[in-house]
């Protein structure tokens, strides 16, 4: 069952401020097998969020190739990318990105609506996802009426309700207190245990420790890529400490 889910080969991404080219990714190679749980770490400005956006098809690479489940993504048009985002990817944002005028249930239904699922099925599927995330009592609350942890759980429900091939989370615990963060992490581990492919961007070593493999980005290149050894909690911090001091790269995150 070890098919390659994500195959990124010398991907670059440049931003332009006026005519000045700012490289955010400078040739990233990365492979993630199906069912794996990977953390992407790095200081701010290292390009980890940029990489994440490309993995989630929210943005296109400037160069290189990105194959998702064997399919070249970098050449697809807008509508095709929208379909991939809709069907294959579940994306979780640091700031949740829920629609404020919709209830929790309606937010979770949103990707299913765009997929064209009919009413009853759609509702059942969304309901199921929310129940799995312990939000049975919060179905008809709007985001404003929910705590940060609950909002993030709604966002996760939205990501997994569509049963994506890969779950991508960009700093999912960044806006939460540590206890709620732990709960959210446990949810990701549960997703992983159910066989989902999970990629988490974080700068929190504790989050990385919960993953199977950690990838370190710095100045737009992968500087380390190693498995997390069981119970080897210190490793993350060791590796971080071993990295050269940050600040020289101005790349945009």
């Amino acid at each position: 069952m070890s098919t390659i889910m994500v195959d990124v080969c010398s991907v670059t991404k440049d931003y332009y401020i006026g005519k000045i080219r700012i490289p955010a990714l400078r040739g990233v190679d990365l492979q993630i097998t199906s069912g794996e749980m990977v953390a992407i770490m790095g200081p701010s400005g290292s390009g980890k969020s940029t990489l994440m956006n490309i993995l989630g098809c929210l943005d296109r690479p400037s160069g290189g190739s990105y194959k998702l489940h064997g399919e070249e993504v970098s050449k697809k048009n807008d509508a095709q990318l929208a379909e991939i985002r809709n069907n294959a990817v579940g994306f979780i944002f640091q700031s949740f990105n829920l629609l404020p005028q919709l209830t929790a249930l309606e937010n979770v239904e949103l990707p299913l609506i765009y997929r064209g699922l009919a009413g009853k099925n759609r509702r059942a599927q969304a309901l199921n996802a929310l129940v799995r995330l312990g939000l049975k009592e919060r179905l008809h609350h709007r985001p404003k009426e929910l705590s940060g942890g609950e909002q993030q759980r709604v966002a996760i429900a939205r990501a997994v309700a569509a049963e994506p091939e890969i779950v991508l989370a960009d700093e999912p615990t960044g806006a939460l207190d540590s206890r709620t963060g732990e709960e959210i992490l446990a949810l990701f581990q549960e997703l992983h245990a159910q066989g989902n492919t999970v990629v988490v961007v974080t700068h929190d070593p504790n989050v990385a420790y919960h993953c199977e493999r950690v990838m370190y980005l710095e100045d737009g290149i992968v500087v380390a890529n190693e498995p997390v050894r069981a119970k080897d909690y210190l490793l993350a911090e060791e590796v971080l400490a071993a990295l050269p001091p940050t600040g020289e790269g101005d790349a945009k995150a």
Binding site: D59, A82, R85, N86, Q101, L110, Y114
Partner: protein, 386 residues
């Protein structure tokens, strides 16, 4: 199915942001309502002029004195009738102040001193009593014929014929009542007029003089011929171009047509301005709300909405808001025109103004709603979410 969902989503979004929706609709409402109201006022005035024109007799020529040297005398009138073969009736007209009093009730109306031919000349008909006789005219009789509204409103059920009324302190006996000429109840006009012999009228005012002549020609052709002959005679008489103003019904129709054109242009311009102002209001709100909603567009695209799906939602939203606003605007505009009519200004709502203003508001609403949304939808989800 997809359409139904887009409608549902648009509806949610409208309800989810009531103030924004209300402001957008307000622009449409103001634009549509003001156009309908303004055009209805213009149309009402036009209809009233038409009615007045109809109330004048056919083939009537009016001659006004424009200077003191142009004095019309009964002898001059007789001479004119002899010299111009196209004249069927001719009479002097003396305008008199119109308050009359009956049994201590004052009544506001206009008064005219006329000749014995005034009934056929003005195409008037008697409902009761009689008109004026030659003796009434020559003997400066204190007799009066009253219009239908005067009869209804002042005498209220009492037969006016034989009643005594006072006008400028003089006692008159009502000898005749006219049939209604115009259906609507107007402040001025033909049905709210009282008639007395012109000879009596000349006495009433002290220094009154005959400043108007009414002529009825034998037919349409004679009417224009007579007008030309009159102009020639008066030019010879006074050696001046504008001592006397001769206006045939054709002239009047032409003048009214010109007036109508000016009024239409003016009202059209005002209506156009209010539509544009309303349109700018809509655009303003739509533009602001779209930049506000770029994030929403980003979120929708991030979970897999295609550009067309995002646009569909915005299109439907704009259609719902603009058409709801348009319908409310039509109701408001019709209501306003109704209220204005109650204050005595004639109004008439036209179908064209309803259709044009509604269509325009709908177009502006849709374009200003969809165009910026189309721009936002083209963004990468990451850029839209930033």
């Amino acid at each position: 199915m997809i359409l139904l969902l887009s409608v549902k989503m648009a509806w949610r979004s409208i309800l989810g942001n009531k103030i924004r929706s209300a402001l957008t609709m307000l622009g449409v409402i103001i634009g549509v309502a003001s156009v309908i109201t303004l055009v209805s006022v213009g149309q009402g005035a036009r209809l009233e002029i038409q009615q007045h024109l109809q109330s004048l007799g056919s083939n009537v020529i009016e001659v006004y004195s424009h200077s003191w040297e142009a004095q019309f005398t009964p002898e001059l009138l007789a001479e004119l009738k002899d010299r111009i073969s196209g004249i069927k009736h001719i009479m002097p007209v003396v305008h008199v102040g119109g308050n009359i009093k009956w049994r201590n009730t004052m009544f506001d109306c206009s008064g005219e001193g006329v000749g014995e031919d005034f009934l056929p000349l003005r195409d008037l008909e008697l409902a009761g009593g009689r008109g004026f006789t030659e003796t009434d005219i020559s003997g400066r009789g204190r007799v009066m014929v009253v219009g239908s509204i005067v009869a209804d409103k002042l005498f209220r059920g009492v037969n006016p014929v034989g009643q005594e009324v006072y006008m400028q302190g003089q006692r008159f006996t009502v000898v005749g009542v006219l049939k209604a000429k115009v259906s609507s109840d107007q402040e001025w006009g033909i049905d709210r007029t009282v008639y007395i012999p012109y000879s009596t009228a000349l006495r009433l005012g002290g220094n009154s003089r005959i400043d108007t002549i009414n002529i009825k020609a034998k037919g349409a052709l004679e009417s224009s011929q007579t007008a030309v002959q009159l102009k020639r005679i008066f030019y010879k008489l006074y050696r001046r171009e504008h001592a006397v103003h001769v206006m045939s019904r054709d002239d009047m129709i032409q003048q009214i047509a010109e007036m109508n054109l000016i009024m239409t242009l003016m009202l059209g311009a005002i209506a156009g301005i209010s539509l544009v102002v309303g349109g700018i209001g809509i655009m303003n709100i739509m533009l602001v709300s779209v930049s506000e909603r770029t994030r929403e567009i980003g979120i929708r695209k991030a979970v897999g909405a295609k550009n067309s799906q995002v646009l569909g939602q915005f299109l439907i939203e704009a259609v719902i808001l603009s058409s709801a606003g348009g319908i409310i605007g039509i109701l408001f505009g019709s209501g306003a025109s109704h209220i204005i009519r109650h204050f005595g200004v004639p109004t008439a709502v036209t179908l064209a103004s309803v259709i044009y203003s509604f269509t325009f508001a709908l177009l502006v609403g849709i374009i200003s709603g969809v165009w910026p949304a189309a721009k936002a939808a083209k963004l990468n989800p990451t850029d839209a979410l930033r």
